[in-house]
Symmetry: C2
Subunit: 344 residues, 2 copies
DNA sequence: TTGTAGGCGTTATCAA
DNA sequence: TTGATAACGCCTACAA
């Protein structure tokens, strides 16, 4: 379905309109309103400003973009904007963009690879300053996607990937492995000895890193990982994986580590349905530190990720000319809460 | 801080490039790649398509927009994209936009009125098809904002407001009053007789409607609203308002109605801190049906709003030529959960 | 059916 | 400092 253009409506005032109203040339008007270094007589300047104000003039960014050959948009690709995880990232991206006078155009991949390729194609049409990919949680990109990104970056566009970036991309990463090591160590430190892990699919880098890190930290502290169940990254996956884990039988005092807070929350729901008390009976820990984790009860032990900051750093990576990956401000912290009470 | 244009990089292939590569005129290339009704010989058509594919050509949307006088973007203004309430709306907007081949540009007001005006000004520059305002929850708009909107709509742009819209705006609304009446009635029906209301600021329409509706339904069912505390719409406000309410003393069996789930969740936290059991002692109900409400414990009684659908309807309102407000699909449902157990 | 040419709103070069 | 004027990439009568 196509969109109908508005027929017969008065158009927005153009630069020529304000120039005429101010009695100056278009070039002069351009200089005072948009041009960089001001070199216009004060008298003219004021007249132009007044005329613009009067007419409610706003520069046509599309025209500016074609004339300048460079646009003022940053394109952001996320899997699901309703998910607070991506919401916080988007929030940081928007803040960073606003700081440099850029506008954020967003697209939702719904975790569909074909769709993602199609969207990148569309967004390329905007000739954005940069393309920020927060679409996956670090699984390997589709092949078609790489072509699009290559085309984009070889035409002067910048690609920023959240997570391990491929090829030309600047990558803003988070130390999933390290955070998980710390979490595993902390939980072993308060007495846990047996753990079950609920992970996303194999091959999703961030999940793999978290599983490996947790295992490392937990076993180093004297614990043992009994099993790893693979399902997905969301609440429903956690619920499903937890049911599978319960089918094996779970001794009291066992720890369940979900690779994301949503997975952990889903696991908690499944535990309640099975009449297992979260905390005293079965302990649960997550990863991400989503707001929800704070409000479930018992409150969820997790690893804090500064997601908003992550998004902000992504736009820095997008606009800074000389950029180097910063780890500062992106440190992860273990947050121990009541879902993992210290064990005797 | 300004953004540096990329120096000396190869530019993206232009329509002229593919025309040359295909050995046809620019016009022909335009017709097969972008023009509406196809009237191009198959042989030429294929050659153009092949050339475009070969070069990785994507139409420059900015240039298209200036040439056509109409852009392919929809602008969305939200208060806070990290808030799942707005996240879900944005999700629906994105879905609707995608259906009609439009792209969504988003801006965050942070609930700051001056900022909001500034952002509308910037977004106007994109000459978007429509401007969707989901920034407030229906408080009265700033005066400067109305001017901007007026300028935009009189230049042929469409304004869509979520909540009561002012002036030219098409409004997509939700029956806050009716939903709250139903909630109040249902809770009175299961035995509650005394209630305290935690509201946003006076003058915020949606909050006022919910308070009025709840009071109506609750008293009609034989209940009584003891007090209304005004604070805000988020978790922290709910926490604060709840503390204030507790200071008055609260008898067991009292119901607390927060005008949003977040307010209710904040209230639950404050109650726990005061060692009051949520449910058996003090009952809590919210409004919105945020995912979080399902995962707190006890699960939160609330009124379900189809937020994603709301966003979708907003883009329908934005693009449909002949549009009438639809209430279908936007019905609110009372969801009774364990935070309000039936009373004796 | 195809190509030529003028125009969309801005910017930027170059005389004046 | 100001103002013509040629781009920018694309669309679209109009003519061939």
């Amino acid at each position: 379905m196509a969109v109908q253009p508005q027929p017969g409506l008065p158009a927005a005032p153009t630069l020529l309109d304000v120039a005429a109203a101010a009695g100056v040339s278009q070039a002069t008007a351009s200089r005072v309103l948009n041009g960089s270094t001001r070199k216009v007589a004060v008298a003219y300047r004021d007249r132009v400003l007044a005329a613009a104000e009067e007419l409610g003039y706003t520069a046509n960014l599309s025209a500016q973009a074609t004339a300048r050959g460079t646009s003022s948009v940053i394109a952001l690709l996320v899997a699901d904007i309703a998910d607070p995880y991506f919401g916080q990232i988007a929030s940081g991206v928007a803040r960073g963009a606003d700081e440099v006078g850029l506008v954020v155009t967003i697209a939702i991949t719904e975790r569909d690879h074909d769709r993602e390729v199609r969207l990148v194609r569309t967004l390329r049409g905007l000739r954005p300053h940069a393309l920020i990919l927060a679409a996956s949680r670090g699984s390997d990109p589709a092949p078609g996607l790489l072509q699009e990104l290559e085309a984009f970056s070889s035409a002067g566009g910048r690609v920023v990937a959240l997570g391990p970036g491929a090829g030309e991309a600047r990558a803003v990463t988070v130390d999933n492995h390290g955070g998980a090591v710390a979490l595993g160590g902390a939980l072993a430190g308060i007495g846990y000895r047996r753990a079950v892990v609920l992970a996303a699919s194999l091959g999703v880098h961030s999940s793999d890193d978290r599983v490996a890190g947790f295992t490392e930290g937990f076993t180093a502290g004297g614990g043992e990982v009994l099993r790893v169940h693979h399902a997905g990254y969301n609440r429903e996956s956690g619920h499903r994986a937890m049911r599978a884990a319960l089918a094996f039988g779970l001794e009291p005092g066992t720890l369940v580590f979900g690779v994301s807070d949503m997975v952990a929350v889903g696991a908690m729901a499944a535990l309640r349905e099975a009449d297992r008390a979260v905390g005293p009976d079965i302990a649960v820990a997550g990863f991400d530190d989503t707001p929800t984790g704070r409000d479930v009860s018992p409150p969820l032990t997790t690893v804090h990720i500064p997601l908003e900051e992550l998004g902000y750093q992504a736009t820095r990576a997008a606009v800074d000319h000389d950029w180097r990956h910063v780890a500062a401000g992106l440190e992860l912290d273990v947050v121990l809460r009541a879902s993992t009470p210290p064990l005797g």
